[in-house]
Assembly symmetry: C2
DNA sequence: TTTAATTTTTAACATCGTTTAAATCTTGTG
DNA sequence: CACAAGATTTAAACGATGTTAAAAATTAAA
């Protein structure tokens, strides 16, 4: 981007426009992070951003559009945090994945909490389509289970699909409980890992199973 | 209750009052069951019940009060469905519990879905207090795990507390997914049981573990 | 029947998301 | 530099929502 972006000349006008748009969005994030998802009122938002309500409509849109942008942002960051993990032990693979997510959330806990609530509210996590967040999140876990079967750490008495789906469920439940404020981020991590290790232990070869159960006992 | 209930004489007035109150509440249930939780508008509700809005306020109260009564009802029915189960095999105990809940939900699926959303919305399922729904729901599961340990079906490498809590999590996740319309009641049952059996298998003695994993494979 | 208490209703208020039309500002041009 | 055209912001309003105050109607008691 040197001077213009495809027929969008950089002028005093468009620069100001972009700046105001950014201000509105960052204020929207700050608002739902500090006051909660329900507290996002358009008049409040406009006041804090130093504009009037119709300007918000002009630069971004109504409430659904604002939330859509925030959710889009959430999705992008989740995708980035779900890149493959390489480790020798199966439990380390899954631990690294969950730790990565917990670290991401910890950078702005209130914001991610609110964003997940907004996402839940707009059906972001539906399980029907094969291209949604759900499907794209489960697949890497199924792959990891398949790898664990190949290396003999999982016995394969339960299919990789079933195991991967169940492991994703353990993470989702802990995330939802954290999102709803039932416990903090450290407990989120402990709860998610407890569930995952327990699932894995059900189909793990004996020495791995022992280690998994031992690690579960650490999360009291 | 012969003629009166502690200074509440049965007269034409109070009889009518009780009848109208009941009509309003049943219409409220029908409304959120058919149109969803968000569709409960006080003017709509008053119209359907054949009264005006301030009458609703007089006989019951505002929106929070209406939802509180509906939730109270939900809680009572959940308590009833969670009475102890006696069975020889541990998997049968947990299966019976979940089947009982699924059967309850199937009697008025839309209503229970909406009631759970309302309950979630008002923090009904918090995990902090020791007297809330959460604590009262986990305890019977912990007890069942302890019994399974005594009978030798569970080895006790994982504490009954951790196992019971995890099993309750499996049920909660499946219930939430069903509540949000991600899948139907049959899948709710299958998903919940898959999770529960997998957890149990992690700490089950060998023959029991084999049976549990076999049952998991049936839920494809 | 008349009076007092209770219950219902009419009418309004505050707040929310949203939109229309007027006012203001920016930009390119004579 | 001034000015018309276009883009942008704003003031003001609309419809819908939860909620409430005061008047009207109804019921119970004397």
């Amino acid at each position: 981007m040197t001077q213009e972006t495809l027929n969008q000349p950089i002028s005093a006008r468009s620069a100001n426009k972009a700046k105001r748009r950014a201000t509105i969005l960052s204020e929207a994030r700050r608002l739902i992070a500090t006051e909660g998802f329900e507290a996002l009122k358009l008049r409040d938002l406009a006041d804090r951003a130093g504009v009037t309500v119709p300007t918000v409509y002009n630069l971004i849109g109504g409430k659904p559009e604002i939330l859509a942008i925030i959710i889009e942002d959430l999705v992008a960051q989740l995708e980035a945090a779900q890149q493959p993990v390489v480790a020798a032990n199966t439990d380390d693979v899954f631990e690294a994945r969950i730790t990565r997510l917990a670290d991401l959330f910890s950078t702005d806990e209130d914001y991610y909490r609110a964003a997940f609530i907004a996402g839940d509210h707009s059906g972001l996590f539906e399980q029907e389509t094969n291209t949604g967040i759900f499907a794209r999140s489960v697949q890497p876990l199924i792959d990891a289970c398949q790898a664990a079967q190949k290396s003999g750490q999982l016995l394969g008495h339960v299919s990789a699909e079933q195991m991967g789906r169940q492991i994703y469920g353990c993470y989702r439940l802990a995330r939802q409980d954290w999102t709803h404020g039932y416990f903090d981020l450290a407990t989120f991590r402990a709860q998610a890992l407890t569930g995952v290790f327990l699932c894995l232990a059900a189909d793990a070869e004996e020495p791995v199973r022992q280690r998994l159960l031992e690690r579960v006992r650490d999360f009291v």
